[in-house]
C-alpha cells in the first residue's frame, strides 16, 4: 500500500522526499515505520504522528492512502 509522508528535515530520513509517496507494508504501525528509518525509540517519543489531520499514537496501523505528517515540535518561543 502507499502513503504520503511528510517530515521535518532534521529527522534525516533518507530514501524518501518529504511530501512524496512511500510504499509501506500492510499492517505496519507508525512506530515500525520509524524503526525502518532508523529512528530510535527514545527519539520516537518526541514525534506526534498526524494522520489525515488527526493526532494518532505511535501504534496507529497505517492504512492505504493515509497522509502521515511526523510532527516534532522544536524549542523556542
Amino acid at each position: 500500500m502507499r502513503i504520503v509522508l511528510e517530515f521535518p528535515g532534521f529527522l534525516q530520513i533518507t530514501g524518501v522526499d518529504s511530501g512524496g509517496t512511500s510504499e509501506v507494508a500492510e499492517g505496519k504501525t507508525v512506530s515500525q515505520l520509524l524503526d525502518d528509518f532508523g529512528i530510535a525509540y527514545d527519539h520516537q517519543r518526541y514525534i506526534i504522528p498526524i494522520v489525515n489531520r488527526e493526532e494518532k499514537r505511535l501504534d496507529y496501523v497505517l492504512q492505504d492512502g493515509d497522509h502521515l505528517f511526523l510532527y516534532v515540535p522544536v524549542g523556542g518561543g
Binding site: 521535518p8 528535515g9 532534521f10 518526541y46 506526534i48 498526524i50 489531520r53 488527526e54 493526532e55 505528517f69 510532527y71 516534532v72 515540535p73 522544536v74 524549542g75 523556542g76 518561543g77
Partner: protein
C-alpha cells in the same frame, strides 16, 4: 441648499446643515472642553488657524485630548471603524487564551488586545529577566515582575477595556483544561518542546475538540522570515513556524523572526474568530 453634509468626527459620521468653519464646529461639539489637538484630513491644525479652515462634506476630523484615554464607547467606535464593523463584532465576542508570555505570547497578546479582542486569558509562571528584553514585549522597568502582571499593566495602557483573566501558573496536562475552559481559541507560546507537545495533545481531548489551538514551532535564528508559514495540523490545531529552526547554541531567538511567528499566530486567531478558516 441640499441635504447638508456628512463628516467623520472621531470615527463617527455626523450630519451638518452646511459647510462650517472649524472653530464653529468645535464650539458646538466641544462646548465643555476644547481639545488640545485637532486633526483635519490627517493634518494637525494649529488653534490660531481654526477660524480659517472650512469643514466640507467628506472631511475627517479628529479631536484629541493629550494623554487622555477615550471612553469605552469612543474606543469601540474607533476600533469598529478601523477593523470594519463586520469583523469587530467577532473580535469583541472572542475569548482567547495565551499559554506562555515570552517572545511569542507577549506579542500575540499585545496584538490581540490592540485589535479589540473581548477577553484574554493570560498564563505564565515566570518573571521578566534581563535576557528577555531582546525579543519580549517588556522593558527594563518590568525586570523581576511576574510577566502576567507586567503585560496586563502594559495592555491596560492602550486598551483598558479588554477583560483580562490572569494566571501565575505553570500549566500541565491537568490544569490546562480548567484554565482555558472559557476560551474559543488558545495560543501555545511556550519555549519548551515538552510543553508544546502537551498543548497539541490536549486539543485532541474530547472536552477541547470544539476549541482551537494555534501552536508554533521553528522561529529561531535569522533565516528568511518567508520560511515561517501557517499550516493546519489537525481539524482544530494550526501550526506557525518553519518547523525546523530550534532555539539552541548558534541559533538564538531574536525579535524579528519571533515577531513574525507571533504575527502569524495572532492572525490565525482573528481568522478563526471571524469564521474565515
Amino acid at each position: 441648499m441640499g441635504d447638508g453634509i456628512k463628516i467623520r468626527l472621531n470615527e463617527k459620521t455626523i450630519r451638518l446643515d452646511s459647510p462650517v468653519c472649524l472653530r464653529s464646529l468645535l464650539e458646538v461639539e466641544c462646548a465643555e472642553k476644547i481639545p488640545d489637538v485637532v486633526v483635519v484630513n490627517g493634518f494637525p491644525v494649529a488653534s490660531a488657524d481654526w477660524g480659517g479652515v472650512l469643514i466640507r462634506d467628506g472631511d475627517v476630523v479628529v479631536l484629541i485630548s493629550r494623554g487622555e484615554m477615550p471612553s469605552d464607547n469612543e474606543f469601540v467606535s474607533m476600533l469598529t471603524a478601523r477593523n470594519s464593523p463586520a469583523l469587530q463584532g467577532f473580535f469583541s465576542d472572542g475569548t482567547v487564551g495565551v499559554a506562555g508570555l515570552g517572545g511569542l505570547g507577549s506579542h500575540v497578546a499585545t496584538a490581540l488586545a490592540r485589535t479589540g479582542i473581548g477577553a484574554l486569558v493570560l498564563v505564565d509562571f515566570d518573571v521578566v529577566e534581563p535576557s528577555n528584553l531582546n525579543r519580549q514585549c517588556y522593558d527594563a522597568a518590568d525586570i523581576g515582575r511576574y510577566k502576567v502582571d507586567a503585560l496586563a499593566e502594559r495592555i491596560s495602557r492602550f486598551n483598558p477595556f479588554v477583560q483580562l483573566n490572569l494566571h501565575r501558573l505553570k500549566l500541565d496536562e491537568t490544569t490546562v483544561f480548567p484554565v482555558f475552559s472559557d476560551c474559543d481559541v488558545v495560543v501555545e507560546a511556550f519555549d519548551s518542546v515538552e510543553a508544546k507537545a502537551m498543548m497539541v495533545k490536549s486539543f485532541s481531548h474530547p472536552s477541547f475538540r470544539s476549541k482551537f489551538l494555534v501552536t508554533a514551532s521553528g522561529l529561531a535564528g535569522i533565516g528568511s522570515p518567508n520560511e515561517i508559514r501557517t499550516r493546519q495540523l489537525t481539524r482544530n490545531v494550526f501550526l506557525c513556524g518553519d518547523l525546523e529552526s530550534a532555539a539552541g547554541p548558534g541559533e538564538g531567538l531574536m525579535a524579528p523572526r519571533v515577531m513574525v511567528a507571533a504575527g502569524h499566530q495572532a492572525t490565525v486567531v482573528l481568522r478563526l474568530l471571524a469564521g474565515r478558516i
